[in-house]
């Protein structure tokens, strides 16, 4: 699957709900769930930056590479 998004793991650790994170990051709930479900084709640096800022983590905590 290549790049895997571990956003829900980090969110569970930080005990933050989807709606709350979406509001703080400034994206819609629908877009956040697209991201969480690995359906997104790309992520903007600005979005990644905002998520990392809110969750106080590094991009590597959210994104993971897995060889086929």
């Amino acid at each position: 699957m290549g790049i895997i998004i571990n956003l829900d793991v980090v969110m569970a650790q930080r005990k933050i709900k989807s709606g709350e994170l979406a509001k703080r990051v400034g994206i819609t709930n629908a877009n956040l769930s697209i991201l969480k479900n690995n359906k997104a084709k790309a992520i903007r640096f600005s979005t990644l930056e905002a998520i990392c800022k809110e969750l106080e983590c590094k991009p590597g905590d959210i994104l993971e590479y897995e060889s086929e």
């Binding site: 877009n31 697209i34 991201l35 359906k39 997104a40 084709k41 790309a42 992520i43 903007r44 979005t47």
Partner: protein, 156 residues
């Protein structure tokens, strides 16, 4: 005046196209009655030709139907622009239908030009050939735009 808005230029265009569509249907349906009246005011030598009336009425029924298809598709196209969703597959199809319909109209006009040539219809033939190419090329461009838009929508 705003260009892309329901109350702006594109909204006005949609209204005009709707009026043209309704008027076009009325004229198309009333051809057997309206054509003799129109021909009375035509200053052309072809009136003396006995096949002229039957040829022209069949010609106008075919090209009229095709033109109504074109106008209907343009209306749909502008409707989607006014709803702020112009980059959809439906518009790509609409533009290609417009293109092929324009080609069909130009073929009809070409046949008319063979039997009853006038300068005006030769010009119309050329315009519809260009409009046909334009519609098909624009449809292809729209296909690319739809793909880019989809890619952009999936970028979070």
């Amino acid at each position: 005046m705003k260009i892309i808005s329901k109350r702006g230029m594109s909204g006005l265009t949609e209204l005009l196209v709707t009026l043209v569509f309704i008027g076009g249907i009325l004229i198309w349906l009333s051809l057997p009655w309206s054509l003799p009246i129109a021909i009375k005011y035509l200053k052309t030598d072809y009136i003396n030709n006995s096949y002229f009336f039957s040829f022209i009425i069949i010609f106008l029924y075919i090209t009229g139907a095709l033109s109504l298809i074109v106008v209907y598709q343009i209306r749909k196209f502008f409707n989607s622009i006014n709803n702020n969703t112009p980059f959809i597959r439906q518009n790509e199809r609409a533009l290609k239908i417009i293109g092929y319909a324009c080609f069909a109209i130009s073929v009809c006009f070409f046949i008319k030009d063979i039997f009853y040539p006038t300068i005006l219809t030769i010009i119309v033939t050329m315009i519809f050939i260009i409009a046909g190419f334009f519609g098909i090329v624009l449809g292809e461009i729209f296909q690319q735009a739809v793909d880019v838009k989809k890619e952009n929508d999936m970028t979070i």
